[in-house]
Symmetry: C2
Subunit: 323 residues, 2 copies
Amino acid sequence: MGTEFLSLLETRNFPIQQLKLLASSASAGKQIPFRGQTLTVEAVSPESFHNVDLVLASAGGKVSRQWLPVAVQAGAVCIDNSSAFRLEPHVPLVVPEVNPESAFTHQGIIANPNCTTILLCVVLNPLHRVVPIHRVVVATYQSASGAGARAMAELKSQCSAMLGGEEVRAEVLPYPLAFNLFLHNSPMTEWHYCEEEMKMVRETRKIMAEPALRLTATCVRVPVLRAHSEAVNIEFTHPFPPQKAKEILSSAPGVRVVEDFARNYFPMPIDASGRDEVLVGRIRSDLSHPHALDLWLCGDQIRKGAALNAIQIAELLHENGKL
Amino acid sequence: MGTEFLSLLETRNFPIQQLKLLASSASAGKQIPFRGQTLTVEAVSPESFHNVDLVLASAGGKVSRQWLPVAVQAGAVCIDNSSAFRLEPHVPLVVPEVNPESAFTHQGIIANPNCTTILLCVVLNPLHRVVPIHRVVVATYQSASGAGARAMAELKSQCSAMLGGEEVRAEVLPYPLAFNLFLHNSPMTEWHYCEEEMKMVRETRKIMAEPALRLTATCVRVPVLRAHSEAVNIEFTHPFPPQKAKEILSSAPGVRVVEDFARNYFPMPIDASGRDEVLVGRIRSDLSHPHALDLWLCGDQIRKGAALNAIQIAELLHENGKL
């Protein structure tokens, strides 16, 4: 994530006077190149946030809860990638293509949503604004990157081990992911949905400002390295011709329709990886419901699912003179 | 599939006086061990079926269409693994746990259903007999084995190539499957569902004898070697407490409930591989619909999804004196 932030800040020419890289004392002193300079990672401290305008935080909920109030107190605006503040009523939860205006209501912290939720909302919202959504059933195909760089490395080393006839070890992830898959292992809730699934339910409602939106999700970790995919069934309040849905999505911000029925070519994780847009295809009338559509999407979990969305929020604030 | 048939015929002690292995002339002469003997593969010919009681066919639709009528003419009962005859009105389509009685109505050919459909029906049917199903939304996670042994080998060699920094080639499957996934590449239908998805719709209706059952499917090929998984959302006509569904499935034939919420342990392809039962878990009330349940299943695509189901049909005929 840190690497992706730096890469995006470079390529998108985000206006930076000075960039500080903050981490725990364990990483302090590490040297990292940025725009031709070499930056040194500093251990975070209460003094770190003096004269800082913007904090991009991606260090987990516990660290965000500890340090972001300190940064806000020092006058910084914080865009937080953790789930710590996402559902707090006074913290906007923002996908710039969906609810940009809510970013301007912040009180110091803006939350960056869950990756699968961002990808889904970018596609649901333009359809919902034309024909209201009644209910969504989604099954995810989530890559190892969602569990971090160590999970990606573990997937590769497990594959090597299996192909070499060696023992497969699972240390980062709870079960072997090589040539296997499993339900998302976030903590289980009282409803027997895992936290990841409940994030999709609750965060989609908040981002789309539809507190009663009906959504059910099954989240699955698959042996893919980087991009997430989702099989989405959407019931609308009225019939929605798939051709019309395709037209709307073709001009929707952050979305790219990828459909070649003759070649059987639709969105794939390897094509979504490293791209900014959410790829969507196989938009079709659901044969089981007169008001429903089925569709399939893939998006880069690290970019639009995380770092890119956070930087788009920062750009939104900057372009509107709010930084 | 041939290997799996032989292995199951051995371990299940199916009563065989004489076993013939038939193939195209390309494979004729190949020697294959069976119950301590060595059998020689013969090229199929019109004479192959004299005095044959039972044919287990797994050679694709074209071969089945050519040779099964010949076998039936010679007096054999044929259990066909291809999709050639599945939807013909006078051909029973049988999952022994679901519609065993229909096997006895055959006129020479009994069709073995599509793999994902078998796994799904074994789980849907016992629930449907208690509270009728109104609609099903399913997303599949289908292993390379569904595309044959060459696809499994290709997945492994693609992974090796990728890990070694070499070029990844896709020859058996249309796109790279290593660390990737794609929508099932069976031919596209006019409804923009692929054939695999339409098989799930039509075959489920026929097996469950519910010609108007509402079902929508998204079929996806994933980089798993052997077992298929499915995320299933089931709307019933009335509320269905998940605890009751779990009890019913716990005693349903061919099903094993695998749920350990404390360990976050649920069905996984590596655990379903080589097993006879369909594993099911995460049976939960759908928070988006008062009459719906969500559940997750995995089953060995080659066993229950194909060879085992065919042999169970043969056993059913034999045990009832119909062979």
